[in-house]
Amino acid sequence: MPVTIPDVKKTWTNTINRVTLGATKEEGGTRTKRVTVGGATSLPFHHFEGAMPHPSVIAMEVWNVAPQDWPAVLAEHFRDVWHDPGLWAKKCVEQYGADLICLRLAGCDPVGQNRGPQEAAQAVKRLLESVGVPLIVWGTGNDDKDNEIFPAVAEAASGENCLLGTITEDNYKTLVALCTAYKHKLIAESPCDVNIAKQVNILATDMGFKPEDIVMYPTSAALGYGLEYVYSVMERARLAALRGDKMLSQPMICDIGIEVWGVKEARASEQELPEWGEQTERGPLWEATTAYVYLLTGADILVLRHPQAVASVREAIKQLMGDGLK
């Protein structure tokens, strides 16, 4: 009984925006490598009906201060370099193959060392001279402090086409103006809510910022800590984009390491939780699995910490790309 299988391909009317990060010498920067994300014409890895010209990429996290509270299974990989963000970034790129470096300005956090704008700018310069990959610079999350440090940061990286973030519904004007002036791309953050994600994009574009220069951050949750909410928000945003919504057509970034390494599944030793198995494997796998899941719902940039998570997520992306990987 020969059977004809009906065609289940869908016709989507829109493409996810392409965002290129990093500027080479010819483009007025000093990056030796550029990274492009986005451009998908269907749901993630649905190669049978659409193109995914730019596979998801991995950014590794570097701080401008030595972290105090990273568990040993994570810290042991960076303890030798974390006194110097330049060396730290170099290790991430050369040893672990990071596509991008995400500098988190944790050293500027008012609750911690409260470092000032010039120190933040120095860290950025140090990274720019140490590695050739494009940079993401992530603020402290404290609005006043971010508005104080980003002018110096944006200027220090002028012409390098970095990705700076984040703007929110309540705090966007300073960073939007800076990204316009110094030609950087922008991360638009929203609290796990499709409508607010769209609203933040509109606020930025109302100031004349190009929607094609935005990457959305719909917040991230660790596996087991509300991941399904973020998963569905991302899926809904991606579907809306493919159906034509230009204000949700931005690629998405997931800030995973910071979430995962705060939860007990990654932090607790096997002495504390013998039922959950060895922490040396459990920690990085918790981070990696969180990333695996977000890949399927549209993550274009994954910010990760543990080298083993990075390596396995890279392999997972390769396998998901299959024949689509050209």
Binding site: M1, I5, H46, G224, E228, G262, G277, E315, Q319
Partner: protein
């Protein structure tokens, strides 16, 4: 087979508008049946001929199949949507772990697999089945391994073999456990279908392409079997994802009967991280059952947690039990924090308190699963409710400092709680992320 429209269903109804179905007209009823909101049986007057004509189209687009018997039985399939935000996914992906019949430590392995059970967020989550796989031409080895698994494990069983003799001998041992027979192929389907029928067990059907799969299913259906799982062959993760997606769309969007069954995926990957990547991808995207090799607790916990997350009903506010929680080992000098029983709120607060390394009590108020602001707006997080809840927990009598920390978003409740509770109220940060700094720098017993 295309989905029936309301008009087509209407043609088969009595057209009397009697109202016995609780809808005003036959047409209104037909529209509801077409939308699968109600079953045809709700019309007491529908004729047997009409029933027969409509029954095929009335069946759910994807069959639900039970594997196993008794307490450890599980259901797969019966899914109704492609995206969990549209409704919910109904039957969590079952996880089966392989035991090869030539493995020297089969018994140990079976015991280890059976113990892969966890409690997370108050829910039991665990591996569902032991999958015994025949790896040699010696059928006796397989039967011995099946017997061992049936004796040593309470879990459901999956019998992976192409050898109908060995399968028959195995089913004579364990048919009462309703194992999944895996898998019928173009070569052996007549024998395996006969076994599935004789022993009343579900049967997996395996083929390389969807066309071959559909042809094979039709042949097997013609032999009178309905409890089937589809096993598309996929060497690459990308290929597996494509086939799972196409199968789900064919069943739900095209109502394509020959493929309206739950799908199982066999994962073959030695690296446990990559095996986890594949398994979690198939949990997210449409597998009803996965068979894999990993047995480490650190590996299964994230896979099972992925399943727990993805199969959460998105329309029911996710709530934790409203009670007094302890983080670390708090004493009479430790802070007491108030929050709501919305799971995401609670786990964020719990996580940040853990980060602070300050042992604390968290008094969770039952807000019906709403977060702080929504609960406040809905009058579910009021001074009265907070005071009553904290009095029930008796915690303010146990701490020496008599201070209660409330969420910064409801700072407005401070005065009333102080007046009615008789405690000092401290206003905590607006976001949970501010808790470590607050507890380290501002909190004083």
């Amino acid at each position: 087979m295309a989905k029936l429209t309301g008009i087509e269903i209407y043609k088969h109804l009595p057209k009397t508008n009697c109202g016995d179905c609780n809808f005003p007209t036959c047409m209104a009823f037909a529209m509801q049946v077409a939308a699968k909101k109600v079953g045809l049986e709700q019309c007491p007057h529908v004729s047997a001929e009409a029933k027969a004509a409509l029954s095929e189209a009335q069946a759910p687009p994807m069959r639900t199949v039970t594997v196993g018997a008794g307490e450890r039985a599980f259901k797969v399939g019966g899914e109704t949507v492609l995206f969990r935000h549209d409704e919910k996914f109904h039957h969590p992906t079952a996880v089966a772990i392989r035991v090869k019949d030539n493995s020297a430590d089969a018994e140990q392995r079976i015991e280890k697999i059976s113990q892969l059970q966890f409690v997370r967020v108050g829910q039991k989550i665990g591996v569902n089945a032991v999958a015994v796989e025949q790896t040699t031409s010696n059928g006796n080895k397989f039967v011995t391994a099946v017997k061992l698994a049936a004796e040593k494990s309470p879990l459901a069983l999956v019998l992976i073999s192409q050898d109908s003799q060995a399968l028959k001998a195995s089913l004579e041992i364990c048919a009462d456990r309703r194992p999944l027979i895996c898998a019928a192929t173009k070569e052996n389907f007549k024998d395996l279908a006969a076994l599935a029928k004789e022993f009343k067990c579900p049967l997996a059907v395996r083929a390389a392409t969807l066309e071959e799969l559909a042809e094979l299913v039709q042949e097997i259906k013609a032999l009178g079997l309905e409890d089937l799982l589809l096993q598309p062959e996929a060497t690459l993760t990308a290929d597996g994802l494509t086939k799972l997606t196409q199968l789900r769309r064919l069943a739900l969007e095209k109502n394509f009967r020959a493929l309206g069954y739950p799908v199982m995926m066999a994962v073959h990957e030695e690296n446990p991280f990559i095996e986890t990547a594949q398994a979690s991808a198939f949990v997210c995207k449409y597998a009803g059952l996965i068979v894999m090799d990993g047995t480490e607790r650190w590996q299964l916990l994230p896979i099972l947690t992925t399943r727990q997350n993805i199969f959460t009903d998105p329309q029911v506010p996710n709530a934790v039990e409203a009670k007094l929680y302890k983080v670390g080992e708090p004493n009479s000098q430790s802070p007491v924090l108030v929050t709501t029983n919305f799971a995401l709120t609670y786990f964020t607060v719990e996580g940040e308190v853990e980060n602070s390394r300050v042992p604390a009590y968290i008094g969770v108020v039952d807000t019906g699963g709403l977060g702080v602001l929504n609960a406040y707006a809905d009058d579910k997080l009021t001074a009265e409710v907070i005071v009553k809840t904290m009095k029930n927990y008796g915690i303010m009598d146990q701490v020496a400092h008599k201070r209660l920390v409330i969420p910064g978003l409801v700072a407005v409740l401070k005065g009333e709680i102080e007046d009615t509770g008789g405690w000092e109220v401290l206003v905590g940060p607006e976001e949970a992320a501010g808790l470590p700094a607050y507890l380290k720098n501002e909190w004083k017993a």
